[in-house]
Amino acid sequence: MEFKSVVGWRRSIRFFDPWRGVEREKVQCILEAIYRAPRVLEVDFVRVLVVERDRLSPEKMQALKTPTTTAQLDMAPVYVFFYADVSMLESALNGANFRELIRLGVLNPSHGWNERFVADTATPYLRAVVDDPDRVPLRPPSAGEEAGPMVSRETLRLARTAIGIAQEYALLAAFDQGLAAQLSGVSVNAARAILGIPDTWIPSSPMLLGYHGESREAGGQRPREPFEEDFFELRYPHPFYREPAVVQRLTAAEMIQAPAPFSWRMNEVRGLARKFGLPE
């Protein structure tokens, strides 16, 4: 699909056809996309874990649910979990990633990159992130379990950015494959136990994946605050002027689509409730 159209058709789908599995090739295509996502400071933070719903026991499924997790978990046949391994930043302190990029001609002397720069400037920069004194436990203590190891907030900042990049790549790749997807919170402690997640991996919300159980429109593109609330030019709070002609161009390219709610949306949702035996 055209890129802009993928962006436009992506929205959080909350009804999946539970009986239709996702072809393994399509799952791999999504992983291949994530694999090509930019690395934050050339650190390999991201870890992705694919789980098929039907391989989980009812007890495990139940454990993954929180009071705000809803029927989506039962509907989506595949879950893609995202983590960042924060220990990778420490591993990168030897500068090997930078040296390799210099060797490959990605980073060059024209921009100051050479062996000395790696040793004297680039890796100390990473070291300062790792050693930053503002530290928190990787995991708050919970019933019967001690808190996780301590890590600097600066490390978390980079790791979470890396996860977010991977998540958006994954969502877009899913819709490009004609699939439906949504990020959704689950019990992180249950997921850690069920999936055998190492201590140094920090979680984010998994992506639920399947085929649309609702219309692709899903009631229309979801609302946002005005553009000018988020984007500024040169000095805050001077807003970045939103040119209507650009909005028109993006509308023609299907990136900006008719906004929610469609007049027929509530009837659709009631129909979906009946389709899946859910309450109104």
């Binding site: 539970p18 009986w19 649910k65 009071p67 705000t68 997790t69 809803t70 029927a71 039962d74 509907m75 509530m266 009631r270 409730a273 899946f276 035996g277 859910l278 309450p279 109104e280």
Partner: protein
Amino acid sequence: MGIGIEEVRNSESTRRWFSSLLDLWGPSAVRPGLVETLARFCTVVEKTPDEIIDECLRATTGGDTFVLRTRARKQFMDQIDQFENQTASRDEANVVRSFFIHNGIAMNPSILV
């Protein structure tokens, strides 16, 4: 103990349910038979609608927000599942779930495949 239809109809939580149904779906959602179904469930659990909701949501000290009591909610969710088995009707059970949801207590019903 039987719970009377009128008592169910006139309780605050039922009124809240109806007004939320009306607000979200329109008049057709407030269909005949809802009160009767809820009354049957109330009879099974031997509680009035307001007692059920009060058990699931504890008011915070300020009184304007609530805390979900997960254990009570779980108990009622199980009782609704039993009610579904007894009545052999997902529709009837979903009427009860709808009553909980519109009163602010999320339900996690399984899907019908």
